[in-house]
């Protein structure tokens, strides 16, 4: 079983570090995942994570990249509503890396 250590507790994950149980998510979990990948979470990162979590709660899936960029553009300004900006924040891809930190399952299929 793969785990992530957060404040001395072992949280179960899959082989790639995505949470095994979505309800285990806390802000500390996101921070620990990011730290493992040498990424420090700024306010801009948190905007993305919050939107992903809100969208997931309503639709049970991460939003399409286009929906995400549009939402971020509305919140942070049009110059940031594009995938280039999101890739600067999340170099391994907003859909995968940001989903992981947000505690969502990894998007599957031909993506």
């Amino acid at each position: 079983m793969n785990t992530l250590e957060v404040n001395g507790q072992q949280i179960p994950t899959d082989e790639e570090g995505y949470l095994a149980n979505l309800e285990d998510w806390t802000r500390d979990v996101a921070e620990a995942m990011a730290a493992n990948e040498d990424c420090s979470l700024t306010e801009s990162h948190w905007e993305v994570i919050s939107f992903l979590r809100e969208y997931y709660q309503e639709y049970e899936i991460a939003p399409a990249v286009r929906i995400l960029t549009k939402a971020i553009g509305k919140k942070l300004g049009k110059d940031k509503g594009n995938s280039k900006y999101l890739y600067e924040l999340y170099p391994n891809g907003p859909a995968k890396q940001a989903c992981k930190y947000a505690g969502l399952p990894k998007p599957t299929g031909c993506v």
Binding site: E15, Y59, I61, A64, V65, K70, K96, C110
Partner: protein
């Protein structure tokens, strides 16, 4: 050689040198086995949830069953003469140098077991005929190297006997699933299709929300109210497209292109929330049952929505399955309008509309681009289009040349029937195989680099969701930008002069 910063570090090969046969390096890619399917993923597909106790007997029996049932497989296992024509034709061999990625060596992993148990010579004098027992070590090799085959079938083009390694790797994966050893990526995806209708796991309400968003975007960009209908009964066309088209870039720009074309042509069409996926990963794991179940959703949706035609979006292996097997798997489709081909590809629809003069296209809209085309393996080597010989190669090019003034083809032994796989096909588009994917893309990257040096190519167009995601990921490893891969129908949509 470029060192990249990925955590599991490896060296990206150099694409600026000419394609050549690499130095052999034993076991160079032995460490690249994908994650195994969990008990839950296996059970969802009706496979044993772990390696069963009597796995050896069951695997040998299954091999006998498959080589008896599929005559092609048996001929492939019996007829190889070790001529070597295939040895330097596989992109994974060219990219890794691992001799077990030579197609003949990959086939031999199964052939030696087949000989041992199913030929007279192999049963009596195995050491003379390269026959070997099925052991744990052999099974490990099967899992690793049959999951390093993207089933692209390039090797079969060069084999004088037409031996198709894809069929061998499909059979191997089926045997492994039968004994409880599945591959996580493919089996998890198939489970999602059975449960939610698509590879992504996109539920109906999320799909509806996504399509509404696209309607708003296109209206804002063009001033034209292009619709993206969902579950609209009595539409003329049911459009079945990979779910990546709803989700990812550059896929979604192609999806917008399909909608613009159909809107401009005044054709009524719809997506289905139950058949919201063109892909059929049942093919990749060689499972006829799963393939049939996935294909049947499309027929059920077509009947329920009372459509007249079924059209497939830009997905490589979906078109192979549709073109070759849909009728066998889920037919008859006699309820559809016989005036149209069943199934039809979206690029055929666009091509026909262009021939009929029903689209107003202005290629100068793409004058900022210098474009080439990547033939996707399953389309190029396993399908046809428009009833024209080689139409699957000429139709997309004719469309591209109509919508782009600057189109150039890559070197002839890397395109068309000889096309190189993107490096991520056949169920290998998963991050746990990233090193293999990057290295397997080498031959395509070399051809692209060569053309780029001559013509300053800005974009490579493709018609397959896997190819698009794979290139978006691996292009940066070779010094290109991720957005240099583009959907064919994005170029069409951008050139389309919208009139209402």
């Amino acid at each position: 050689m470029v060192n990249n910063t990925d955590k599991k570090s490896f060296i990206t090969p150099d694409a600026s040198v000419k394609l050549s046969i690499p130095e052999i390096e034993e076991s160079a890619s032995k460490h690249l086995a994908p994650f195994k399917a969990s008990a839950e993923h296996q059970a969802a597909l009706g496979f044993p949830d772990r390696l069963i106790d009597n796995w050896k007997d069951v695997a040998i029996e299954k091999l006998g069953e498959l080589s008896g049932k599929y005559r092609g497989l048996r001929v492939y296992l019996d007829s190889c003469v070790n001529c070597g024509a295939c040895t330097d034709k596989c992109h994974y061999f060219l990219g890794t140098g691992d001799p077990k990625n030579m197609p003949v060596a990959r086939q031999n992993l199964m052939r030696k077991v087949y000989r041992r148990y199913y030929t007279f010579a192999g049963r009596t004098v195995p050491w003379l005929v390269g026959a070997e027992d099925l052991t744990e070590e052999v099974l490990d090799d099967w899992y690793t190297y049959f999951n390093q085959c993207s089933q692209c079938r390039r090797c079969s083009v060069y084999c004088p006997y037409g031996i198709d390694t894809a069929e061998v790797s499909m059979a191997a994966r089926e045997i492994m699933d039968t004994i409880g050893v599945g591959q996580k990526y493919s089996n998890e995806v198939i489970g999602k299709v059975h449960k939610l209708g698509n590879n992504l796991g996109l539920p109906g309400p999320a799909l509806a929300n996504t399509l509404e968003g696209l309607e708003e975007d296109v209206l804002e960009e063009t001033g034209v109210a292009v619709k993206f209908p969902l579950d609209q009964k009595d539409a003329d066309i049911l459009l079945v497209t990979p779910s990546a088209d709803f989700f990812a870039e550059p896929h979604v720009d192609g999806l917008i292109g399909y909608a613009k074309v159909l809107h401009q042509a005044g054709i009524s069409w719809t997506f289905s929330s139950t058949a919201s996926e063109a892909a059929n990963f049942g093919l990749f794991i060689g499972s006829y049952d799963n393939m049939q179940q996935i294909a049947s959703r499309i027929k059920d949706a077509a009947l329920e929505l009372n459509v007249k035609r079924i059209v497939f979006g830009e997905c490589g292996h979906a078109w192979r399955v549709a073109y070759n097997y849909l009728n066998t798997l889920a037919g008859p489709f006699d309820f559809l309008d016989p005036k149209y081909p069943m199934p039809q590809h979206i690029v055929e629809v666009t091509y026909d509309l262009i021939q009929q003069g029903r689209l107003h296209l202005d290629a100068s809209a793409n004058d900022d681009k210098r474009v080439t085309f990547h033939d996707s393996c399953n389309i190029a080597r396993a399908s046809g289009m428009a009833g024209i010989k080689g139409g699957q190669l000429s139709v997309p090019r004719d469309v591209l040349k109509t919508v782009c003034n600057h189109f150039y083809d890559m070197r002839s032994n890397t395109i068309g029937e000889a096309t190189f796989c993107c490096g991520g096909g056949g169920g290998l588009l998963t991050d746990d195989l990233l090193e293999l994917r990057v290295k397997g893309a080498l031959p395509r990257m070399q051809a692209l680099q060569e053309l780029h040096d001559k013509h300053n190519i800005t974009h490579m167009a493709a018609m397959c969701a896997i190819c698009k995601s794979q290139f978006a990921k691996v292009l940066p490893y070779y010094g290109f930008e991720m957005d240099q891969i583009i959907s064919v129908h994005q170029l069409v949509g951008d050139a389309l002069v919208m009139q209402r």
